[in-house]
Amino acid sequence: MGHIKLTNVTKSFGAVDVIHGINLEIANGELVVFVGPSGCGKSTLLRIIAGLEKPTGGELAIDGKVVNDTPAADRGLAMVFQSYALYPHMSVRQNLAFGLENTKMPKAEITERITEAARMLEIEPYLDRRPGQLSGGQRQRVAIGRAIVRRPVAFLLDEPLSNLDAELRGSTRAELAALHARLSATMIYVTHDQVEAMTLADRIVVLRAGRIEQIGTPLELYNSPANRFVAGFIGSPHMNFLEGTVEAVQSGKAIAALPGGQRIEIAVNGANIGKGARITVGVRPQHITVGSDAAGIPASIKLVEALGSETVIHADVSGQKILVVAPGQHNLTPGTELRLSLAAAPLHLFNERGLRLDHAV
């Protein structure tokens, strides 16, 4: 139970197309995260699955049954909303019971399920309070509880942590992961925060402008992003990109010239690049080494952020901004020069259209 399949799902609001042909299969028990910048269509996609929006085209199937025309109530899904959407005029207990009463469930079973969920989420002391009397974190638990008591085919979570403060967000994230492990239910989780996506997901679906950019496990996305967008979106601080032109290709290596005239050597890994191609080289800030090696790329320091455990260096390489995260503490001053080495770094190559060139890692 809990297998969801989308085939060519599209959605338009009037003349505006917001979802362009989504194909996606979510396995039973999987925790899939939809991530992307705001306006990418991730929430709309979730609402289509929920049944709160009707897809304009395509097919949506739950457990093999096409549910395009099934109303939200009959899809057996439960949703946790960004604003929690707790009924403010009902007590926590009534909030949890409301959905169950609507299915004409016997009172005894309702009580049993509420008790169980309340124990699981540690919200027993607040059962008779109104949502207005609870803190943000407590409301969040109630919202999750309201979904749990329904024993749904799948949980849909729409940015459930975005209204919490940073500290609470971290701990709740861990609890959500534990909950998923415990319930082993299908969950679809929407967020714009790539850290949440990385830490929670079995698989991440990166969306942009209504299209899927890449689907994969968190590490797949991190290690071999399919395009410049995914590369820039996953990972923090985000990946550095250097524009360049290929000057020569020989024995699995290519020499690329950066605008400032520096040349870097890149392992091609069988990618098809010819001389004169304009490419983008991506490198994560953590993979750049700082040194005085004469072979390194000369860079001037613009700003140094000493975080203690690591040092974030904002540097300038012939007009292109580069971010370097160096472990430990470094005594550097803005305005001075230093050399950056990419020798040890895994490099990501993208063509002019932003697509990844080497698909072997």
Binding site: P71, P88, H89, S91, D128, R130, P131, G132
Partner: protein
């Protein structure tokens, strides 16, 4: 107003009283679920809208359109099908005057008397109403002790029914009334005010202001209180003289509210009827006969009632009201926009 989170649970008796309501609501849920399945969610929207629209259509929209047909028919028959078509005859009759400035030269002289009376009433009453409400609002906007009490004092008559208002003042203005009693103390002889054409007219103006000024004061006061206090403090820091602050800060910022109030007062003044009908009955003679009473009497009360003529007169009044209402909607929209820009 905004929806916010209600405080506590427990209405006690209220909850008990709600039990039958709950049962009834629950009972109709099953057929409505069926309806929802058949008609879909947009069908339910139509279902929710229907009762209001049905009543609205039958009792407001339909009469509105029938009114035009009515105004083009003659005879005293009630139903449209029994009435004879006369074209624009009713309008021609209303406008049949040798001299429009003199009602006595008109075929339908009472109509023109009513128009003239209403015109004078509107001019005088609206002016005085605005002045009185504005001054009261300005005074209530000062830092007063017990402001809500004073606001309530001026608001009190607003809720009274026009009939009660009319009767209270009829009682006060009669020969043995409070007014004569007060004046008697200053050596005046008792006078029957409502038998005097001019005093009766003045009474209708005064009484209608007495009854409704609290409402407009309230709107103006809300407008005044919405003006941020720090504007005045800033003006003071700039060395602005209070007079200048009044004309350059208070008035411009209050202007949108003031305009809306002016139009609201106008709309109400054109339709004046209830309290005047009870107070003077339109008299003495026709000195306080206003348009609505003319329509009412021509359509229902007169010996030779003529619904067609009443309908024609009411359409003429309707045209004036539509213009005024459009003005009001336009004004409140532009003031909303200004508010949003703030």
């Amino acid at each position: 107003m905004k929806a916010d989170v209600p405080g506590k649970t427990g209405l006690g008796i209220g909850e008990v009283a709600l039990v039958p309501v709950r049962l009834a609501m629950g009972l109709i849920d099953a057929p409505l679920r069926w309806l929802q399945r058949v008609a879909g969610i947009s069908g339910m929207a139509a279902f929710f809208l229907m009762p209001n629209m049905l009543i609205f259509g039958i009792f407001i929209l339909l009469p509105f359109f029938i009114n035009f047909a009515y105004s083009m028919t003659g005879s005293t028959a009630l139903f449209l099908s029994d009435r004879t078509f006369v074209g624009s005859e009713q309008y021609a009759r209303l406008f049949d005057c040798r001299n429009y400035l003199d009602p006595n030269t008109c075929a339908e002289d009472t109509f023109w008397t009513a128009v003239a009376n209403t015109g004078w009433f509107v001019i005088i009453q609206v002016t005085l109403m605005i002045v009185v409400s504005l001054v009261t609002a300005l005074i209530l906007n000062r830092e007063l002790a017990a402001r809500s009490f004073w606001r309530a004092v001026f608001f009190f008559p607003v809720l009274l029914s026009p009939v009660v208002v009319g009767l209270i003042w009829k009682w006060i203005l009669q020969r043995q009334g409070l007014l004569n009693f007060s004046l008697y103390g200053f050596g005046f002889e008792p006078y029957t005010w409502l038998n005097d054409r001019n005093w009766a007219f003045a009474a209708t103006v005064g009484v209608s202001i007495w009854a409704h000024m609290g409402f407009y004061t309230l709107i103006l006061l809300a407008g005044l209180q919405a003006i941020p206090k720090d504007l005045y403090e800033a003006a003071e820091m700039d060395g602005t003289r209070p007079a200048r602050a009044f004309w350059r800060i208070t008035m411009p910022l209050l202007a949108p509210n003031l305009l809306v109030v002016v139009v609201l007062v106008l709309i109400k003044a054109v339709q004046i009827f209830d309290e005047v009908y009870v107070l003077t009955g339109g008299g003495p003679g026709t000195s306080t006969l206003y348009l609505t009473q003319y329509i009412y009497e021509t359509g229902f009360a007169a010996q030779l009632r003529n619904p067609g003529l009443a309908a024609a007169a009411s359409i003429l009044m309707g045209v004036v009201l539509v213009v005024l209402t459009l003005l009001q909607l336009g004004l409140s929209r532009s003031s909303e926009k200004k508010g949003a820009r703030k």
